[in-house]
Amino acid sequence: MNRKKKIDQIVRTAGLESQIGEAQTFGTMMRRMVRENKLAVISFGVIILFVLAAVFAPLLTPYTYDEMDLANRLAPPSAAHLLGTDEGGRDVFTRLLYGARVSLLIGIVPTLLSMAIGAALGILAGFAGGKTDTVIMRIADVMLAFPSILLAMVLMYMLGDGLINIFLTLSIVNWASVARVVRAETLRLKELEYVEAARVTGVSRSKILLRHILPNCIPTLIVLFTLNVPSSILTESGLSFLGLGVQPPAASWGLMVNQGRQYLYTAPWLSFAPCVAIMLTVLAFNFLGDGLRDVMDPHLQK
């Protein structure tokens, strides 16, 4: 067994193996990540677990998220209430599960949406230059000039409550910074010789964007994604705190952190549980993002 490995090694280093191998596909990349990056796999597992917990929340707990039990206010964790109860006697574990529905959606959907908008506009601005660039970037500047929470408040006032409106608001607030970063990256990439080579070859502009510029923006986009997921979750909690996001008795992690703030000394579990949930989610996305970035980078192969 060991000997066979050794022979394989020798054959490989001597270049005696004359097979072509296979091209990287999405499948081979994923298989490689499973093999080489356990942390990314575990992270993916954690995210799936959270999603399943959110979806099957009613099956996992005997309580409902708004079921009050005033006799049992601010109860510490126990067998009946795994993570204790809040100031209305509602089960924190149950609220955590239901809150995951809102918070995971808010962490992921507006982030993806704002990144899609920001990346598209940023690449367009950087690649087209001239007037297109000026118009897009001045709009982005205006967006960035407002404090983001203020902008979000104004938008929520205008649009009204509701999950869809929170998605829209967070996307509108976040796209500009994504566009800035992607534009800068595009400006750098489009001057590179391989982009010039593609132009000499006669490749169309849209293909240059899709094959040469966008794939080389992916590491940047992954980093932005992992940064924007927690920021979206927390912005939502800020909006909820101001009475503009999810309203109690409905639950979201951000809202729960805020609610628990008043009882930080007497009932720390109120804030602690959703904080840990947010942290685990953020870490999971971070590690998964790192794993995806590494596995897509040809330099780190083999």
Partner: protein, 318 residues
């Protein structure tokens, strides 16, 4: 040399340099490249060689002047009309590290021109064609799905060459294709370029600052100084009887490997090259030329035929 493939007529290109200043990168250059011919362009850094090369394949528009491909003027063609000619005019780049997309494997890089021009029907045929091209440029076929960073400079340059020849162009602008490579590898690449030329009837515009490399590969050469051609002619004639003082200096500056043939009195050019933002009046070389007279400051010399069968732009040549 059968017919003329590409012709430049009075090509000039200025670049804005801020503060209303202008860099005269290329000024009034005319040249011809024949079918299957290699024209070498030599000159020091910043003399406008690369700008000239890119204008000839319409990657940079000229400020004035025109380029004719098989008699058709670029200036009379819209981008859509020019598009089929894009395939005929390819380029090999100086930096084999920057000219290959790090996220594409060799197959996809070489297949890009084949796909762009619909050379092959279907993926399978394209891959077969890529393998043939890899064989043509001396890359083992097991490299098919590797990525650029797994290769040496010379191998990367072979990938760049395979990409350039994939869609069967008629002219390739080689922009210093060997200057980033080891000397031993330079020769392999030059020989490969020559083999491909013979097999495919390619024309080259070979740009280099290395006069020995240009001599090795070119049928004719043009020596450029500060955006202008100062001497041009068949390679051996220019080398055996250089007429323009700048050409003479260039040839003298080539290191002589045989110590017995070395002379003590190698004349070296003094001073810095003049700025292309504010070129000297008259002859552009006059500020560095040991033979300069008042006439050189007043009057710009035109390219004239010399006794040796070359053309040189110098008042001192009778």
């Amino acid at each position: 040399m059968s017919g003329i493939l590409l012709e430049a007529r009075n090509l000039s290109r200025d670049f804005p340099a801020g503060h209303q200043k202008v860099v005269h990168a290329v000024s009034d250059v005319s040249l011809q490249i024949g079918e299957g011919e290699t024209l070498g362009i030599v000159g020091e850094s910043g003399c406008g060689k690369s700008t000239l090369g890119r204008m000839l394949i319409r990657m940079i528009p000229p400020t004035s002047g025109d380029v004719l491909f098989r008699g058709k003027a670029f200036s009379e063609m819209k981008e859509t009309e020019f598009h089929p000619i894009r395939r005929e005019l390819q380029m090999i780049f100086q930096d084999p590290y920057a000219s290959l997309n790090p996220r594409m494997n060799v197959r996809d890089i070489i297949a890009e021109p084949l796909e762009t021009w619909h050379v092959c029907a279907g993926k399978e045929e394209t891959t077969q064609r890529v393998l043939e091209l890899m064989r043509d440029v001396g890359l083992p076929e097991e490299f098919l799905y590797r990525y650029p960073h797994q290769f040496s400079g010379g191998q990367r340059q072979r990938i760049g060459i395979a990409r350039a020849i994939a869609a069967d162009p008629s002219l390739i602008v080689c922009d210093e294709p060997t200057s980033a490579l080891d000397v031993s590898v330079q020769n392999q690449i030059l020989n490969l370029l020559r083999e491909l030329q013979q097999a495919r009837g390619l024309s080259y515009l070979f740009i280099s600052h290395n006069i020995s490399v240009v001599r090795h590969i070119s049928d004719r050469i043009a020596v450029m100084f500060l955006g202008k051609i100062c001497e041009t002619g068949p390679t051996e004639k220019v080398f055996s009887a250089p007429r323009h003082p700048y050409t003479k200096f260039l040839l003298e500056a080539v290191p002589q490997p045989d110590p017995r043939k070395r002379t003590e009195t190698t004349a070296l050019l003094q001073g810095e090259p003049p700025s292309p933002i504010d070129p000297p009046s008259g002859c552009r070389f006059r500020t560095r030329c040991p033979h300069a007279t008042e006439r050189c400051a007043a009057e710009e010399p035109a390219l004239k035929e010399t006794a040796a069968g070359t053309e040189a732009a110098c008042h001192m040549i009778a």
